[in-house]
């Protein structure tokens, strides 16, 4: 049996394995059992092994070892310097970071970890500020921009209602997270201002609706996965027995 014949059998074999594993996972319907745990262990092991192979091959081999080999094989000193300038900092910081694996040398890797955390935090905060916060505030502030209003009267009413809904939802939701209060009377329990209290109550309703939408999305994704597995099982049965 050559490689081409073997590849022809790969799909049927893979389909059967997938069929069995799917049934093993669906056996959880009757409770936690041996078949379900075996399937879960197989999935975790395969995913971890595949991730390790990808990381080693795609990163360590392709981005560290292969460039050096190509430079040596091609015999270009200029390329060697460029490759070393790109690889050496990575190797230095990566090797320094490995000191965290040893309890005795863990403190030596703190500067590298601090550098990594600092750069990562700056990147994430900068992205959140300029990629989410400012654009979203600008979009919310311009919901009632008449220049962006539609010309059609029927759409204009819908646009106005939608804009008011967005504005009220945003303000009331932010009012709900206003927890700073101070007592109005000496010795009394500090409470929010009645106006902010009513705003927070409305915002609480918006938050509940939002969480319901999230749950609906999760449920829809799960139902799609169930439908996909049911279709797969029927296709395998159809291809084997029919």
């Amino acid at each position: 049996m050559n490689l081409e014949q073997l590849s022809q059998w790969a799909d049927p074999i893979g389909a059967v394995i997938g069929f069995v594993l799917t049934l093993m996972v669906l056996s959880y319907v009757i409770g936690d059992n041996f078949l379900f745990r075996i399937a879960i262990h197989i999935f975790i092991g395969v995913a971890s092994g595949y991730a390790a192979v990808i990381i080693f091959y795609n990163i360590f081999w392709n981005q560290v070892i292969l460039p050096l080999l190509l430079v040596f094989l091609q015999g270009a000193p200029s390329g060697l310097l460029v490759s070393l300038a790109h690889i050496l900092p990575v190797l230095l910081l990566g090797g320094w970071m490995l000191t965290k694996a040893s309890p005795r040398l863990a403190r030596l890797g703190t500067p590298v970890l601090a550098f990594l955390v600092g750069v990562g935090a700056a990147t994430v905060i900068g992205g959140a500020l300029f990629g989410t916060l400012i654009p979203q505030v600008a979009a919310t502030a311009g919901v009632l921009d008449l220049d962006a209003a539609p010309d059609d009267t029927g759409k204009l009413v819908g646009w106005f209602i939608s804009s008011i809904f967005i504005l009220v939802g945003t303000v009331t939701t932010l009012s709900y997270f206003q927890f700073g209060v101070r007592p109005h009377i000496e010795g009394a329990i500090p409470t929010r201002h009645p106006f902010f209290e009513s705003m927070a109550t409305i915002g609480q309703g918006f938050i509940a609706i939002t969480l319901g939408v999230f749950f609906a999305g999760v449920l829809a994704a799960a139902l799609v996965a169930l439908v996909d597995r049911a279709r797969f099982l029927w296709q395998v049965i159809q291809s084997i027995f029919l």
Binding site: N58, N62, G127, T132, F214, L223
Partner: protein
């Protein structure tokens, strides 16, 4: 009434009183038989210290007899007498004074001419004669004399020749007074320490002999009762109240400080304080070197401790022993309920798959405006234009994500776009290969105008680097080929050099990271960013698609958007076959949620009603408890 003066204090008293009202001294002599001078002698005689030498010589006896009384006090007959009265002299005469310069009085000189009495042995030195007769002494003093020298018999002194002077009557009568009890002599000092101590105690009692006769008649009990102090007229004695008495200082309650008992203390045996008792020793025992005490290293364990140790070992051993879990029955109400829900969902879906129903209408473009924008961006891609596809969904979401992803890739393949696939997820490269393989334009073979750059590590950091330099972030493909030398990718130096960027992810956080890190650069260069997401990430991604300047130009969310794009592009996929089953299962799910919510409310109301009925008899019993 005549007044007499007290011989002691000199104050005047009436002659009717026998004792002074101020000092209680007798105003009249007790023994009327004695003359005044003899009474004075009787008072003054014991005040002179009596010294008896160890040799038996009586020292100072003459001073007792003659030195105290002056010549003027003596009567003439006595002044002429050469010998003292027999009853008073029982000891040999004292030796002559050692000081030759001392002038001897005349009477003493005459006395020295008398023949010396026979010397007595030292042990038989008679006691010093007392001017007070033995009968006049108190009993305790007489007993003390007997106790000190009970064995010393008194010898009758040799008769003193009388010079023939007539003895007066009173003296004769005085001689007739019987002296039955011998007068004992207390030695001045002895070489025995114990006897010295006894003599010291007795010495303190010696001055009692100086007391007047009236004092000798007072018993020991009477002496303790002090007579009340004379109260001056006009002063009324006040009685202290009880509270003031209670406030008196303790010192007033305890008139004398307690004496320390030194009898049990050690006698200093060395050093300058040798022989003293009750002082700190100059060589304390603590400084003395001694052999260190050796302690046994063997641990002494009692039976109780041993039993506790055995119990602890048994507990530790039982912790390591695996205990079998109790077998649970397979058919429990919970399992039956769960199985019923699964069958209610799975059987209709399977029925729709078998039937291959396509009766449920597809959503319209008006209800999903992002799909039309998405489609418009896809069809604008020119041939051989590099398009970046980020395959960032998990393998578990392939059923939902591959519907839209396959439609997108197939549409791009139709347009001969150059596909560059990469992933920030480790399972992404494999899913990208699967996607390239299964597109219909080349069944069984990878799409030729595509490269799989593999995995991009670093998350948000990797994306930031990708925006700046894709060549350094992803230098090689999964086949170890440098893609950046290919003709379609030679112009790619930054992310903005791609004509289109499409991100396929089921995670809202991943979508947000892509939008935050890449949208500013892409918007600045007019490059569109499209998203293919799962239904669960749609609510968080939708805000990025709205506004005057949306960061995401097209959104394909969930199965509805994928089926709609599939229908719009005309790509044959599995989406249409899944749509009916999905619609039915979604309806069944909504009904089950509704039924479950109503049932939950009813059951909760029933459970809340039962405790109220149960609490009622309890409320009746509460007053009973309070009463009890």
């Amino acid at each position: 009434m005549a007044e007499i003066l007290c011989p002691e204090c000199g104050k005047s008293n009436t002659d009717e009183l026998e004792t002074c009202r101020f000092c209680q001294a007798p105003l009249k002599p007790i023994d009327d038989a004695l003359p005044d001078w003899l009474g004075d002698l009787q008072h003054s005689e014991p005040e002179q210290p009596t010294e008896t030498s160890s040799t038996g010589e009586v020292g100072g006896l003459e001073a007792d007899l003659f030195g105290v009384t002056s010549d003027s006090d003596l009567p003439d007959w006595l002044r002429q007498s050469a010998t003292p009265p027999k009853s008073e002299i029982h000891a040999p005469p004292a030796p002559a004074s050692t000081d030759p310069t001392e002038e001897t009085p005349d009477w003493l000189a005459a006395l020295s001419s008398l023949p010396e009495p026979k010397a007595l042995p030292p042990s038989k030195v008679p006691a010093q004669g007392s001017a007070v007769p033995a009968e006049k002494l108190p009993d305790w003093l007489a007993n003390l004399g007997e106790a000190q020298n009970p064995d010393i018999p008194l010898e009758e002194p040799p008769p003193v020749p009388f010079d023939g002077v007539e003895t007066p009557d009173w003296l004769t009568s005085l001689d007739n007074v019987p002296t039955d009890k011998p007068v004992e002599v207390v030695p001045a000092f002895t070489f025995n320490e114990e006897e010295d101590a006894e003599l010291l105690v007795g010495g303190e009692d010696q001055p009692l002999s100086t007391l007047p006769d009236w004092a000798s008649q007072i018993t020991s009990e009477q002496t303790e009762v002090l007579p009340p102090e004379p109260i001056e007229p006009g002063l009324v004695p006040e009685e202290l109240p009880g509270w003031l008495i209670a406030m008196r200082p303790v010192e007033s309650v305890a008139p004398t400080a307690p004496l320390e008992d030194l009898s049990g203390t050690d006698v200093v045996s060395a050093g300058p304080l040798i022989g003293l008792r009750g002082v700190l020793s100059a060589e304390p025992d603590a400084l003395k070197s001694r052999k260190p005490v050796s302690y046994s290293l063997k641990l002494h364990v009692t039976d109780d401790q041993r039993s506790r140790l055995v119990l602890m070992e048994e507990l530790l051993a039982s912790e390591l022993t695996p205990k079998p879990l109790p077998a649970q029955p397979v058919l429990t109400p919970q399992n039956i309920f769960r199985l019923g829900i699964a069958l209610a969902l799975f059987l209709p879906v399977l029925f729709m798959m078998i039937r291959q129903s396509l009766s449920v209408p597809l959503p319209s473009m008006e209800t999903l405006p992002g799909v039309q924008d998405f489609y418009n961006e896809l069809v604008d891609v020119a041939p051989e234009t590099p398009v970046l596809l980020a395959i960032d969904y998990e393998a578990g979401f392939t059923g939902e994500m591959e519907v839209g992803a396959r439609a997108v890739v197939e549409q791009l393949a139709r347009q001969q776009a150059y596909l560059v696939l990469m992933s920030t997820n480790t399972t992404g490269p494999a899913l990208a290969e699967r996607l390239l393989t299964e597109i219909a334009i080349a069944p069984g073979k990878p799409y030729p105008n595509a490269v799989n750059l593999g995995y991009l590590p670093g998350g948000a950091l990797g994306l930031a680097e990708l925006v700046l330099s894709p060549r350094q972030s992803l230098p090689y493909t999964l086949n170890a080929i440098d893609p950046w030398v290919l003709p379609s990718l030679t112009s790619i130096n930054t992310l903005s050099d791609f004509s289109l960027v499409i991100v396929m992810t089921n995670d809202a956080e991943t979508a947000r990271a892509w939008i935050e890190q890449t949208s500013p650069a892409l918007q600045a260069n007019g490059v569109s960013l499209l998203l293919v997401t799962s239904s669960q990430a749609e609510p968080l991604v939708i805000p990025y698609t709205s506004g005057a300047l949306p960061q995401v130009q097209g959104l394909l969310a969930g199965l509805p958007g994928s089926v709609l794009l599939e229908h719009r592009t005309g790509v044959a996929s599995n989406g249409s076959g899944m749509w009916d089953a999905f619609s039915l299962s979604l309806t069944i799910s909504a009904l089950m949620i509704l039924i479950g919510s109503v049932s939950g409310v009813v059951i909760t109301a029933l459970k809340e009603g039962k405790p109220e009925t149960k609490k009622q008899p309890g409320r009746k019993s509460e007053p009973k408890q309070e009463q009890s």
